[in-house]
Amino acid sequence: MTIMTKQHVVTFVAKQGILIAFVLFMVGFAIANQRFIAMDNILGVVRSSAIIGVMALGVTFVVIGGNLDLSVGSMMSFSTIVVLDLHDKVGPAMAIPIMFALTLLLGAFIGFLVGYLKLNSLIVTLGMLSAIHGLTLTWSGGQNMDIADKSGTWFSFFGQDRLLGIPVPILVFGLLAVVLSLLLSKTAFGRQVYAVGGNGQAATFSGIPRARIVFLTYLVSSFCVATAGLLQASRSLGSQNTVGQGLELTVLAAVILGGASLLGGSGTVFKTVIGVLILGFIQNGLLLVGLDFYVQYMVTWAIIILAVWLDVAAKRGRLWSPIA
């Protein structure tokens, strides 16, 4: 019986570990600094997490499908620069669809390489990280991109305005989370993504077009990246070429924190949202408490490993690895 209870505790903690950690963090920070739980602050954190969050939603699809996407940061820089550049050249109404089309094209290229040519996604997206950065620099000539007339454009709506008192980026993030959550959990496509990531061979034997599904996950991912680029561009109406640099790992950390397995086949959109919020609140909380930014690095380190460890422990039913 003692084994049973210990087992139960491990399982419970492991399954709800992320939420428990989340609550503990919130309570701790709230005690340390009252402002932490002020509505303004919470909205502020969610708003500034929105861009990473939107990207994480897309990467969730890729990871559940059994692949990685390390190119999202670089690709987000591309989207941002392109839409800002086109804004003054062809106007925002044209700039946005063109930017989406170009970003989706990049996503399609990666999807083609990983899905149809079956190349290793880690290396492909690593290569694309570098290549897309080169593309962005070529596009911009290395210059910062700024919209000339900042106060006279409706383009700032996506990043700066509020609807019903809620900042638009939060609404976009929320709406996209709901839509993608339904796509993943309720549609045939979503089910096929899980199958392909869970056991690609069995998926093929079940008549699932594996290559196409993988291809589509990268399209979803690049769509999200384009959305993030739009929010980013609209938020600051100007950007440098490296705006998304390094975000790929933050995004991946959020997705992993949310419990998606790198082996594919598991994870949900909701959990990814939690993962994103945890990272956002940690960053904000540590700043408010007055700790240096690098403390955030170490806290993130600890929390990622703890979260995944608990998840792994729950699956095998024991805390420590049985490997001798």
């Binding site: 938020r235 600051s236 440098q240 007055g290």
Partner: protein, 316 residues
Amino acid sequence: MKMTMTAALACTTAMFGAAAAAQTTTIGITQNNVGVDSYQTTYERAFIAAAEANPDVDVIVLDAGGDVARQLAQMEDLIQQEVDVIIIWPTNGEAVIPAVRRAHNAGIPVVVTNSNIAEPGFDFIRSFSGPDNVTQGSRSAEIMCERFTELGIENEARVVQISGQPGYTTAIERQQGFDERLPEVCPNVTLVETQPGDWNRERSQQVMEAFLIKYDDIDGVYSGDDNMGIGALNAARAAGREGIVFVGATNFAVGYDAMAEGDYWGSIYQSPVDDAEAALQTAIDILNGEDVPFLNYFDTPKITQENMDEFTKPVF
């Protein structure tokens, strides 16, 4: 791609005039991190343009991508290619000293540009050409203080600072200048907190958002360059906080515009074109055997809403 073309053109012209080629001199430059911001990109372009305008000079333009190891390798390559002068924009003011010494020992004069190397290396360089970052920081502090005095809050104002990428000489020196000068001119102004914004507008916007939550009373923001300053300004705008004095360094086009609109108070006017041309001219002067000053600062004046008419809008 454009660069390759330029280089190709430079080469073909060189090949057509074999006699001329004999007289041309080759200048190699290794830059810090082109593409990370407009300043460096504009610098590179201005440098190439200036070199092209001079028929006697060929240039090899390299970019270290912010990586010290790559910059050292590029120094070695330039030495190995036996260029006549090396211009270096250090990724790290101390780490490049041995490489600079090697060039010195190989008989190649070295000009440091934009951001100086540390003192132990002074023996091995012929000249430093660039802005005086410490003075820039001091001047920013003065702009800030003068504005507070105008507003009559010089005895109570609270300031936050957003510094550049941790570890970079320019960031360190500007912060140092600001930190030292502010208490001298405005002893009662408090510098509440400093956080790095990594030369990144987005990062700076996030830092400012947190500052705004944390502190109800912020009167001034000093940022290591205008790019970050605009990020901070965006955050303040979004939070509906007005009346904050924004002062930056290295006036960017966005900063200039924001000044024109009255949102941004002041900055330091520093032209990458001047920077690049000064570096190239220093190198050419050395080749021509002219005497060059060891510290060849070009002037970086204060720019505020009040005197901005005297300056043209930065191109970057």
